[in-house]
Amino acid sequence: MIELRSVHFAYPGAQRLLRGANLVIRPGEVVALAGPNGAGKSTLLRIAAGLLAPSEGEALLDGRPVESWSRVARAKQLAYVAQSPKTPEEWRVSEIVELGDYPHREQPPAPRPLAIRLEEVRTRLGLATVWERRADSLSGGEAQKVSLARALVQDTPNLVLDEPASHLDLANQMVLFRSLSELATQGRSVLLATHDVNLSRLFGQRLVLLNGEGIVKPMPEGAEEQGRLLRQAFGVAFRPVELSGTLCWFPDPRGENPAEATAYSGAREDGGPKGPGGR
């Protein structure tokens, strides 16, 4: 279980980024954190993973302050994938994924054998075709899956993933979100940052928003409240579309951002359905 209690944070010499953020991810839950660029999503995730100390407030891992865990004990409880992960060049995919076993080299050993965990992530993330390929020959999306696989081999009850879908194609995004739901049903807590406000909700996962005020807000129930919160967080208008019983939201190019709206209507008057700021 991951818990943040009124977390405040400011980088040295900069404005306060987080101002009392609260968030709980219980076992069996996937929580997607969305918000504008620079709102502090990565910072919040790093605090939750114990990689950054909050200025005020506390981060708990399974009920204990995250900084009170030893590095190895924490690594057996929580795995983390950075926003820009590094896949060591000239290493084979299988070797990189195996690095996730590092904390289990120390006592007590992992509950499940490494070979089984490796086989599991290979199948789950569809890595069989690239398994023996070198990392410097992978595409951005493949490399992202390899980093995720490394974290999954760590076999921890808690996962913190910083934009794990940013380089994935649409099919792989589906694979990822489905996998995360499956992992949650095994009792794991998953916290991820994302720019997609719909996909996680389509898989029945909880969406929370980090707005410019540095606090975490859950996605409300009603359509009107949802639209208002999204507009307030991102500064553009959204339009809803209902899909399989879930209200999905898409930014409206003719919305209330004045610059965008003018460019769009200008393009239309020229006589063609061109996109915003059309040529």
Partner: protein
């Protein structure tokens, strides 16, 4: 350990053993009986042991510098660490004399270590974590230290000057066997520290946060690796002076044969470094025929083209 890694380690060990045997026996003057045995035991053995330990140490030092600084061009000589050590050792010679054994050696060793550490610390502070700045600063520092060392030679006595010249060229001395064995301690410690936990070094190739979240004490391991790399380089300089290209080329050769995992790369770098320097020592004896071969010249003569080949090879591979 995989088949390829076992094979590569076996090959590296065979290279080290073969070059050790060659350094012991090739080019022995045609004497028989007692004299040959005496040369073997009191000259060839300490020389070969020195080359083994210093070469292995430089291989390890280069590997650790390249890993921690995430730069395949890093090596104690490029980084100015060896330059700082050399300058300090020459300065110590000026003030303390050339006594190779006992206190003189220990003091020169201490001076080399302090010189190397201060250079590294100063450059790291100046570069502020930027690898390019660190490398460029190292090149500049090396040149400055070389000039400084040459300037000091003005005040040296002829005897000291002869010694310092061999030192600046790079040579393998014939010290009492105890001294190379003593300097083997940092090598053994490095091997013992990083071989079974080679995986910890592997994690330094990930993003820092990811390595931390995988359970690695990133800062501690990095600090330890830098300190050991500097101690190994200073030990090499204390005994043998400037031996260019060993620390630069050997880790590349190790990666080429033994793959990327540090549990194998650490021993492979030691063995290949030892083999490289032993081969240079033997070549020096065969070609020059002198007692005190300019081994540093041979390591550079062989190391430079090998490194160029590796460089061209890797840059070609990056082209589309």
């Amino acid at each position: 350990m995989r088949a390829r890694e076992r094979w590569a380690l076996g090959l590296a060990a065979a290279c080290a053993a073969g070059t050790f045997a060659a350094a012991m026996t090739l080019g022995l003057p045609g004497t028989t009986g007692g004299l040959a045995a005496r040369i073997l035991w009191s000259v060839r053995l300490p020389e070969a042991l020195t080359a083994l330990i210093v070469g292995g140490g430089l291989g390890l030092s280069g590997l650790l510098f390249q890993l921690v600084l995430r730069n395949p061009l890093a090596d104690p000589y490029v980084l100015g660490v060896a330059g700082g050590s050399t300058f300090a050792a020459v300065a110590a010679t000026l003030f303390l004399g050339t006594a190779a054994a006992g206190g003189g050696m220990a003091l020169r060793g201490a001076a080399a270590l302090v010189g190397g550490l201060l250079t590294l610390a100063g450059l790291m502070k100046l570069a502020g974590g930027k690898p390019e700045t660190l490398l460029l600063g190292g090149v500049v520092a090396n040149t400055a230290f070389a000039a400084g060392a040459r300037m000091l030679t003005v005040w040296l006595s002829p005897e000291q000057l002869a010694y310092v010249t061999t030192f600046l060229v790079g040579f393998i001395p014939t010290p009492p066997a105890a001294i190379p064995l003593l300097l083997g301690i940092p090598c053994l410690y490095t091997l013992a520290r990083f071989m079974p936990r080679g995986r910890g070094l592997d994690l330094l190739l990930l993003a820092d946060d990811e390595a931390r979240a995988t359970g690695l004490e990133v800062e501690r391991v990095r600090r330890e690796a830098l300190l050991l790399a500097t101690v190994l380089a200073a030990a090499a300089v204390t005994l043998c002076g400037m031996l260019g290209f060993v620390g630069l080329v050997v880790p590349h050769l190790a990666r080429l044969t033994a793959g990327r995992r540090h549990r194998v790369l650490v021993p492979a770098s030691f063995l290949l470094g030892a083999a490289f320097l032993l081969a240079a020592l033997t070549a020096g004896k065969l070609v020059g025929g002198s007692w005190l071969a300019p081994v540093g010249v041979y390591t550079s003569l062989v190391g430079a083209p090998v490194f160029l080949v590796l460089l061209v090879r890797s840059s070609r591979r990056e082209l589309p």
